[in-house]
Symmetry: C2
Subunit: 496 residues, 2 copies
């Protein structure tokens, strides 16, 4: 790992150097993510621009704390009293959000420190991602100022964050437009996104909420001058309310922080699902320009990830599907890679069998006892070998649940994929109670893949019954594989 | 190829043997797909069963021809006069649709022949897919009877077909439920699906119509006792109204038919996009049980496909995306594998660059002249290297079209991927006319990938402008690669 990391916990390069004092300050991420009040520095009335949009978005959600616009030119912004400087605020705030030209950021951050503001996020661009010169120096100034005031600082060049439970959205991401779905904080298990890329971080959120993932946080970290991805992850692990992490990273800045955090997550059984940008030459060129990250070698990252059971995924929707698999069956991970396929379409069953093989899963022939139990229900043109083609006829008569229950009992299987057509709810409606019972009682993960476009009623029914519903067979197979690998990695780690 | 095909044009196996007379009869697929009247043998009043559902579906679409239910037990079925036998029909029909128990099929097919019916589709199961014995003998009987009457016969064990222009749907697929979207026949370029698997064939249709593909036919071929996939493809090529083919096959039954058809398609520049089931051991087991197909060796199929520029794709949505790419830019295929990436999100640009590399595409640095032209429009934190990160700021000011136009002019690029956020239409609305102009004028393919979930208005705007819109970056990259490979394969084939 020498080429990309140093064991000291810092990576030193000509582009970036972190003051030694950083590790001596425990970052106060709790205050940053749960502030009682926020100052928005650079607030604007023009909602066509980013500086106006961020206030519009923050105001559009029912955040209970105070929002103070800070503006050099106006005494009122979007209906709120504005202040000429953080020094003039009516009370000390917990969080400063800076969206002003890069060259003004250091002085403003310094003023925040003097005003007693403990945490700040910097959304402005124009720092180290510019590739040298003034931008790099400005970013270094930020680090020095943050250390001097012992401030907890995220960014620059990020896109802010969302705390769904607090309804706090200091971001200009159009995904958080109040016109879109209302924020819903998770009731039980929560999912967090931490992403260096603002655009992709919020895109993951956008796709994931459409699939019903219970998000708790979306945090974008940008250039990571001070706080990095795994600082946030570690805080959320300590907080204890996040069970699945979706991370989009361009580099790992501190090997020590990564290893400490990844070990903590693995011990707790809380999967880190990581998209790692910059795996190709063009991708590395892009991340250097994007956040000044040095993407490093794919093989080295892969070895590091595999040591800690980190689940790598190069596909946005794939990351979401893996999260859904863990949310439903994280406590009943597959003990191995042997998967059963239960299908009402022979062709779809054959295709997903191929997809399972491509994902490194085994699709073994079923044991005789299980076959005999299934055969009593099948017409002559069905087959119980595995894939089990139960035929449309038998499914119409019996539903899916009983076949799935029989298969889940087979000693040669570690998990099950049920191939359904979710096009029309009629078939599933009658199977609702047995499906829910099976989801509660099975000791093995059972996934649903709908080869037709599922209707809303089917999506809801399957979610309520307790299954993850896949619309892509490859992602379905890869999720099963990822969960089997995670169980194996965790078992190896815990026994070390 | 000896192990899976015989050069004679027939594959002889212990399971299946085709009468020698088959090749002497030119199948009358035109009459089958465009009948003036249809007899439905086995029609039922019970719309909960498949036999009742098929009539409900046929009646629910505005097919202009006559539909005659044939029923042993009823004189009226779902409001239509029913007939006890095909011998009693008031006029000779062009197509018989058989959905009766397998054991009755041979006699009924013989009666159809005597009644002068020239074409038949057999939807019943219970033939060679049962793996031996009576089913295999029944299927052989069908072939003999069809040959004796010189009838054109599809199936058995298929799920029927749809002719969208004729609004004819002899199928029980729930995807064709009249309650779903009305059928829309293509105005210009048309897409056909031919699939051995009924379930998957209609699933491809279901996903594809949601993406706006202009479908002309969906044909499911089942066990292919007589007609096989490439008989239909050849007919459609000769007919001339289908430009893109989506094929889902379990085997190639006649090498001669395949080679003649694939060569004809390649000469005409009409791509065959094929999903080939049975690539794994479990998949091969499944297709044998499904349609008695012998899936054969993946390597042999791959070599055969590559010789004829056949595009293999193991992903349902991927097949649809490749079709969309060809529909938009089939006449302007990429001359090579060098792709430019134009993005407003640095992270998304880096990620799709990685996806391009994974798909075997090159993402070269741009030439100095193109960079200079782009740089005049970029803020300091943007980059013109490729990926070209035009930044959200510049896109807000100028839109995407001008950057894409500059990049498309670069001599080092063969195609372009524009990374957009289609979440809100505001940004694209102002860019509408320049985008449409660029789509008309570009000589290189330009694809759009939205990393956020695109709004309906954006989907419509981009389709009207003339671009394929991708929601998955890997499928986007693979489509570019498939189109570049297709151009190379066709050039090689034409110069042979």
């Amino acid at each position: 790992m020498r080429s990309i990391f140093r064991k000291s916990g810092h990576r030193f390069s000509d582009k970036k150097m972190r003051p030694a004092s950083k590790d001596t300050v425990v970052p106060d991420i709790a205050t940053m993510l749960w502030p009682r009040s926020v100052a928005l520095i650079g607030a604007s009335a023009d909602t066509n621009g980013l500086r106006g949009r961020i206030l519009e978005i923050m105001k559009g959600h029912p955040y209970a704390g105070a929002i103070y616009p800070v503006s050099r030119s106006r005494t009122e912004v979007q209906g709120l009293d504005a202040y000429a400087s953080v020094a003039d605020l009516p009370q000390p705030v917990d969080l400063a959000v800076l969206i002003i030209p890069a060259r003004f950021v250091p002085d403003e951050l310094d003023r925040c420190g003097h005003a007693g503001i403990r945490t700040a996020i910097i959304l402005s661009s124009g720092f180290a991602e510019e590739g040298g010169g003034a931008g790099v120096r400005l970013q270094e100034e930020i680090r020095v100022i943050a250390a001097r005031h012992r401030m907890t600082v995220a960014g620059p060049n990020g896109e802010g964050f969302v705390n769904l439970a607090a309804a706090l959205c200091p971001t200009f991401s159009p995904v958080m437009d109040p016109g879109a779905t209302a924020l819903q904080a998770p009731q039980g298990r929560g999912v967090a996104i931490v992403s260096q890329s603002g655009g992709v971080g919020f895109a993951i959120f956008d796709h994931g909420r459409a699939k019903g993932l219970p998000f708790r946080y979306v945090v974008t970290t940008g250039n990571e001058a001070c706080l990095e991805t795994f600082d946030f992850v570690e805080h959320m692990l300590d907080e204890g309310a996040t069970d699945v992490f979706l991370l989009l990273i361009e580099d790992v800045k501190s090997l020590a922080t990564f290893e400490r955090t990844a070990a903590k997550a693995l011990r707790a059984g809380k999967p880190l699902i990581i998209g790692k940008l910059g795996q190709s030459e063009a991708g590395r060129r892009a991340v250097a320009a994007h956040t000044a990250a040095v993407a490093g070698s794919q093989a080295e990252y892969r070895a590091l990830f595999s040591r800690y059971g980190v689940i790598e995924c190069d596909d946005l929707d794939g990351m979401i599907d893996i999260a859904a698999g863990f949310l439903a069956f994280g406590s009943r991970l597959p003990a191995g890679r042997r998967v059963g396929i239960c299908t009402s379409s022979g062709g779809a069953g054959a295709w997903v069998a191929d997809a399972c093989a491509a994902a490194g899963l085994d699709v073994p022939e079923l044991d005789p006892a299980t076959r005999a139990a299934i055969d009593t229900h099948l017409p002559s043109y069905g087959t119980s070998q595995n894939p089990v083609d139960v035929t449309a006829q038998a499914v119409h008569a019996m539903g899916y649940a009983e076949f799935a229950r029989l298969m889940a009992g087979s000693p040669v299987l570690d998990g099950l994929i049920v191939v359904i057509t979710g096009r029309y709810p009629r078939l599933l409606m009658g199977d609702r109670a047995p499906l829910a019972k099976l989801a509660r009682e099975t000791t093995k993960p059972i996934f649903m893949w709908s080869y037709t476009r599922p209707a809303e009623a089917c999506i809801a029914l399957i979610a309520e019954a307790g299954y993850p519903l896949f619309t892509d067979m490859h992602r379905c197979a890869r999720t099963m594989r990822a969960m089997a690998d995670y169980r194996a990695a965790r078992a190896g780690f815990m026994s070390d």
